[in-house]
């Protein structure tokens, strides 16, 4: 008897008239069946300025400056490389990025800070492989004076929309929503605001970042959120407006009146954010 072959699956195209046409095509593919019926959510047509593909990746790799990176990477307008999405999706391997970085410097030491950041990615991946399910659970207890039950489960709408009323945080979230990318320092600010100022579980923020960032990796992302929350570090990470002012450019509003919850000394913030935590002289 002749075997019944399965029907050939539907093949998707390789040719598009423009990036906008591809964006529309993906929005159609992404529609849930309910959306199709109701026509409810208009497609999100915001696209990242970071273009996918090996050619764009190699062009970005050719521009890296490990020496400038080491001295300015914590500044929002510093010499960051923009390679994270390519590395996350295997468009570039860590090894080839490392080898290129070494080829651009006079001594290997000049590229060490940059290579150490590549090693963070390798470290997160090794942790992920060793305990794949742990990235959604607290590695350790919170060290904030609160228990996990004291934190809300859901991300509030105002945070998801970038309308918290704290100007610099809203500025960072606006960058995230518009571009699918956020400088690492701004990620730490937003994460600390979500977990410590708003007392939301890190998992809610981590999932939101995964959905918005084009470079988000579950291991790097979630374990970094845990580092901020203090469930994978020895103390919670928090910051104040003076710190933000040191690292951001002129496009972020850092006036104290527009950022009142952040405009305090570290001592005052420690008392406000972690009232149950014994004063231990940290920071």
């Amino acid at each position: 008897m002749e075997k019944n072959l399965s029907p050939e699956p539907k093949r998707l195209p390789h040719e598009f008239a423009s990036r906008d046409a591809l964006i529309d095509f993906i929005a159609q593919l992404d529609k849930a069946p309910d959306d199709m019926a109701a026509g409810s959510h208009p497609p999100d047509r915001r696209a990242s300025p970071i273009i996918g593909g090996r050619q764009a990746a190699l062009a970005a790799l050719a521009k890296i400056d490990p020496v400038a990176y080491a001295s300015s990477r914590n500044h929002l307008n510093g010499a960051v490389t923009g390679l994270s999405a390519y590395i996350r999706h295997g468009v570039l391997s860590l090894g080839e990025v490392r080898d290129h970085a070494l080829s651009t410097v006079g001594t290997a030491k000049q590229a060490e800070k940059f290579i150490q950041e590549l090693a963070w990615r390798d470290y997160w991946q090794r942790l992920y492989a060793s305990a794949p399910d742990s990235i959604w659970t607290d590695v350790e207890a919170y060290k904030t004076g609160f228990s996990a039950d004291d934190y809300e489960n859901e991300l509030p709408e105002d945070i998801a929309a970038g309308k918290t009323g704290v100007a610099c945080i809203d500025g960072f979230i606006g960058m995230l929503l518009d571009t699918g990318y956020l400088h690492n320092h701004a990620r730490l600010y937003v994460a600390a605001y979500v977990v410590h100022w708003r007392r939301i579980k890190w998992q809610a923020g981590a999932r939101w970042f995964l959905q918005q960032l084009i470079d988000a990796d579950p291991a790097s992302n979630n374990l970094s959120w845990q580092w901020v929350a203090s469930t994978f570090s020895n103390k919670p990470y928090f910051f104040n407006l003076d710190n933000v002012a040191r690292y951001v450019g002129p496009d972020i509003d850092i006036t104290p009146a527009a950022n009142a919850p952040l405009a305090h000394s570290y001592e005052r913030l420690e008392a406000l954010l972690f009232p149950n935590r014994a004063a231990d002289g940290e920071r």
Partner: protein
């Protein structure tokens, strides 16, 4: 022996070892909206992934791998599927679903080139314990 290379979103470059391990095999990517939601891959990242696929010699099919690959295999009588390895539980579950749907086919996982090869398992308790063990090979000291 006939087979296919099953590409997923963590290995989007032609120099990944999965391609050189079977240069005659056709590469296939399975695009499924439900999978994208489960993996928290939003539309901006979907665009990035699709742009990467446009530059690869890979056929893109709509649907879950556990549905697309058996249908593809049915048409071509393959005996082996080669896939880039991953730590992702969501992808590993897809691997298991494909293997379950195609029990007579060998599913072979191919690891990417390692960034470092430590002589012993490094302590992963904190980053700097790991870094102190891998710093030399990471920096290519010793001409590795």
């Amino acid at each position: 022996m006939a087979g296919l290379i099953w590409i997923h979103e963590e290995a989007l470059r032609p120099s990944h070892p999965v391609f050189s391990s079977a240069p005659d095999f056709q590469a296939v990517f399975c695009w499924d909206a439900d999978y994208m939601r489960r993996a928290d891959i939003g539309q901006k990242r979907q665009l990035f992934i699709y742009e990467c696929l446009l530059e690869l010699d890979v056929e893109i099919y709509q649907g879950l791998a556990s549905e697309v690959l058996p249908a593809w295999a049915d048409q071509r009588a393959i005996t082996e599927i080669i896939v880039p390895d991953t730590p992702s539980p969501i992808l590993l579950a897809e691997f298991a679903a494909v293997q379950s749907a195609l029990p007579s086919i060998t599913l072979r996982r191919v690891a990417d080139h390692p960034f470092v090869t430590p002589t012993a398992d490094p302590d992963l308790g904190r980053f700097f314990r790991y870094w102190n063990k891998v710093r030399k090979p990471a920096m290519r000291h010793g001409g590795v």
